[in-house]
Structure formats: structure tokens, C-alpha cells
């Protein structure tokens, strides 16, 4: 992790039409090489924050910048900016009509004009890293959820993004498949990738995070290192939230 700020969110306010604010003044700096995990109860706005960071949502005020360049939904250079921001979704969203290899090479070839052979070699190299090289000619429907999600991560990585956003990427997976996806993310973190992760996997959050950001009601309630957050949360709201993950046998 360095001091260089890569992604900067300032006073972000976002509301969907006709509702109260989902995000109510969020400010957050993501440093290069940093892994930030965003936690919070359902509906607290953490996914919306992530979607704003990739220009998938409009926002009412405030600003989001990548290296000083402003991110807005219909911004003129959004396609260029999005190439620098990888995003992985809860429901994988592979392209069902394309083979695994073509899923991965589509954007590099069409958007970045990488020669096809080079893109394929890169896809194979990345697939090897997630143990899926033998699936490169398969179609998404032939893969398990965990395999699909690993391909979705590889697809985003093939664009050589500077920062990766993960939006509850294990929420739709069977428990035994969660691990294989989280392991890939842990490896990425170790290699120094800048990451913003929204998750409900508390043990994973603790292991991977450099910093925990706890959001509730559209504002940042607590922002600290994982050790402090999980052992000595300073706010009542965070204590309550953490309690929902522990179970005790009723007397």
C-alpha cells in the first residue's frame, strides 16, 4: 500500500427517484494497493456506493474521481475510465452465448484492440492461475457457480484494471464454493491489487482487509483497521451489526 490516492469519493449523495437518500454524504479515499472492505446491513447503500464508483449509477451531488478524472454515469470518457476499473457482480453475468475463452477475450480484443492471439494467451495464463484452464472451450452453463465467478474475476482482470470492485461476489454461491472464490481474491490482494470489496463474509473481511468501512443509513459510521473493528468496535451500531453474526444456544 502506498500514500498515492487512486480512487476518491467526496461528499457523495445518491437517491433513487422518489425515495430518501441511499447515500448521504460519503467520503472515502482508496489508496493504491489498498484493500478496503465495505460492511453494513442490507440496504445500507454499500452496493450502491460500488455501482457509483463504476459509473453504473447517477448521483445527485459530490464527486468520484479516479486519478483526478471524474466518474459519472454518462460521462464522455466513461468507457476509457471503466477499462481501468474492474467490477465483479453477485450473479457473475458471464455472456451465455460465448465460450469461457471468448468471454475473457471479447473486451480486450474489441475495446483495447489487443491482437486475438495475444488476448488468448493472456486468457490462458489467467485461467491457469484460477485452475480453470481445462474449461476454456466450455460454455458458462457447464460451469458451477464458483467456477463461473472465478471466470468473471479473470474476465475483469484481462483488461488490466488498476482497481477491482467486488459486489457481494459470494452471496449467490453454495457454501462449499465460497472458499475457492475467496482464495482467488486473497491471492490478488497479496499481489498488491487495489480492491474495494462488499461482502458478508466476516472472517474473510478480517483476513483480507487493510481497512474496514462500516456503512449504515447511507453514512460511514465507523472506519478503522480490521483488528479494531472486530475486537473493539467503537459505535453501538457496529456492535449490534457484529452480534448478528454470532450464535449462542438459547438456555
Amino acid at each position: 500500500m502506498t500514500d498515492e490516492i487512486l480512487l476518491s469519493v467526496k461528499d457523495l449523495v445518491k437517491s433513487y427517484e422518489g425515495t430518501s437518500e441511499v447515500l448521504n454524504g460519503i467520503s472515502l479515499d482508496i489508496h493504491k494497493g489498498e484493500v478496503v472492505v465495505v460492511l453494513g446491513p442490507s440496504g445500507c447503500g454499500k452496493s450502491t456506493l460500488l455501482r457509483c464508483m463504476n459509473g453504473l449509477e447517477e448521483y445527485q451531488s459530490g464527486s468520484i474521481t479516479l486519478d483526478g478524472e471524474k466518474i459519472t454515469k454518462n460521462g464522455a470518457n466513461m468507457t476509457a475510465l471503466r477499462q481501468r476499473i474492474g467490477m465483479v457482480f453477485q450473479s457473475y453475468e458471464l455472456f451465455p452465448h460465448l465460450s469461457i475463452q471468448d468471454n475473457i477475450t471479447l473486451a480486450p480484443v474489441q475495446v483495447q484492440k489487443v491482437p486475438k492471439e495475444q488476448a488468448q494467451a493472456e486468457a490462458e495464463r489467467l485461467l491457469e492461475r484460477v485452475d480453470l484452464l481445462d474449461k476454456r472451450t466450455a460454455y458458462p452453463r457447464q460451469l458451477s457457480g464458483g467456477q463461473k465467478q472465478r471466470v468473471a474475476i479473470v474476465r475483469a482482470l484481462a483488461m488490466h484494471p488498476e482497481v477491482m470492485l467486488f459486489d457481494e461476489v459470494t452471496a449467490a454461491l453454495d457454501p462449499e464454493m465460497v472458499r475457492e472464490v475467496l482464495d482467488v481474491m486473497l491471492t490478488l490482494a497479496e499481489q498488491g491489487m487495489t480492491m474495494v470489496i462488499v461482502t458478508h463474509e466476516m472472517n474473510f473481511a478480517r483476513a483480507v482487509a487493510d481497512r474496514i468501512v462500516f456503512i449504515d443509513g447511507g453514512v460511514i459510521v465507523e472506519e478503522t483497521d480490521p483488528e479494531t473493528f472486530f475486537e473493539h468496535p467503537s459505535t453501538e451500531r457496529a456492535k449490534q451489526f457484529l452480534k448478528t453474526f454470532t450464535f449462542e444456544k438459547k438456555a
Partner: protein
């Protein structure tokens, strides 16, 4: 020798006439299908435009065509337009116009349905990879739309082929009408001719529609 009913088909040029009738059927249906696919694709894309006036227009067109029986549409174009605007339309052109109007409406609705059935996440995950709107449509949405359209559009083609038998009421002699003429002309000689002639017409329709359905099934399995 006692003539069996079957030999009515091979008397004179009867069978050739049936084939000529089939050719008329095929001409009308295939030209209309071709035009309907082109206009229907455009109409379907138009239906997804988020503009109240465009949507009202599309709704009106689709429902007008759907509610009107094809028979009425044929009368309306063949007799109505001719009288009203002094335009002389042949039965052939009228048939093409009516079946294209109908096919465009039905095909358009299929295209619209296929486009809106692509989950919004597909657009988003493609956008997140830095693809432009045009690239997303061409490489992600369009190929999936086409795959979803195969079964319902093949169904529409065979429906259109079968419905062209209506054009006899504006004086066209297609395969079914030809069959009726053959039966009428040989009523005395072949009292049971109807069964054989209609049977032959059935087989001809089957021979046309069956390969199309088979092709659709094969494509669907391939692109499942």
C-alpha cells in the same frame, strides 16, 4: 379398369397444377416472411424506445393488426384501398401487403420480447468492461436476442405459410384452391376424390413446414 380415388392426382396435369398452386403459396408466404423479418426487427427495436408517442403508435399498430382477422385485412386492402384512393392493386400485391403488415406486427412483438428479456445485468457487466453502447448491442445483446428468437419466429413462419390459404377469397389460386378446383372438376368421375386431393395438399404443406421446424430444433439445440 376401375379408377381408384388416388389416380385423380395423376390424371392429366392435376398434380402439376397442385405444385403450381404450392408455388403461389410459397411465393406469397416467403416474400412476406422475408419482408416481415426485416420490418419486424426494426419495429421491435422501435417498441423498446422509451418515448410515449412512439410507444402509443406501436401499441396502436400492433393491436389493430392483431384484432383484425386476416380475412378482413385482405378485404380492406384489396377492395377498400382500391376504391378509396383509386389505386389498382393486384391480388398478389394485396396479399403480400397484408401478410407483411401482419408479420411485421407479430415479428416486432417477438423481437421486443427477446430484447427486454435480456437481463439488465448483461448490459452492466459489458459496460463495466469498458464496452461502448454499440459494442454491447452488437456483441452481447444481439447474439442472445437472435438465439431467443429462433423458436417463436419459426413458429410464426409456419403460421404464415398456413394462413396464406385465405388469399383465395381475393381470387388467388394457391395450393388449397387448386385442390378444390380439381375436386370440383372431377366430382362425377371421382366421388371420393376429395379425400385424396386434400390428403395431397396436407402432405405438401407438411413437406414445406417440416424441414423448417427441424432446422429450428437443430439450431436451438446447438445454441442452447
Amino acid at each position: 379398369m376401375q379408377d381408384t380415388g388416388l389416380s385423380i392426382l395423376f390424371r392429366g396435369i392435376n398434380f402439376l397444377r397442385l405444385l403450381q398452386g404450392l408455388w403461389v403459396t410459397l411465393q406469397i408466404s416467403l416474400i412476406s416472411v422475408g419482408l416481415s423479418f426485416i420490418f419486424g426487427t426494426l419495429f421491435g427495436m422501435l417498441m423498446t424506445v422509451k418515448n410515449r408517442f412512439v410507444q402509443a403508435f406501436c401499441w396502436l399498430y400492433l393491436n389493430f393488426i392483431r384484432i383484425m382477422p386476416q380475412l378482413v385485412l385482405l378485404f380492406l386492402v384489396y377492395f377498400g384501398v382500391t376504391r378509396q384512393w383509386q389505386i389498382s392493386l393486384s391480388a398478389w400485391s394485396s396479399a403480400i401487403i397484408v401478410f407483411t403488415l401482419w408479420g411485421t406486427a407479430e415479428m416486432g412483438d417477438l423481437v421486443r420480447g427477446a430484447i427486454v428479456s435480456i437481463p439488465s445485468h448483461q448490459y452492466e457487466s459489458a459496460a463495466a468492461l469498458g464496452m461502448t453502447k454499440q459494442q454491447i448491442f452488437r456483441f452481447v445483446i444481439l447474439p442472445q436476442t437472435i438465439r431467443r428468437l429462433i423458436a417463436p419466429s419459426i413458429n410464426l413462419i409456419t403460421r404464415m405459410i398456413k394462413t396464406t390459404s385465405l388469399v383465395e377469397i381475393i381470387g388467388m389460386v394457391e395450393v388449397l384452391k387448386t385442390g378444390q378446383q380439381i375436386i370440383d372438376a372431377n366430382r362425377m368421375q371421382y366421388p371420393t376424390g376429395a379425400l385424396w386431393v386434400y390428403g395431397a395438399v396436407f402432405v405438401l404443406y407438411f413437406l414445406v413446414c417440416w424441414p423448417i421446424s427441424t432446422l429450428a430444433g437443430r439450431l436451438e439445440r446447438k445454441w442452447r
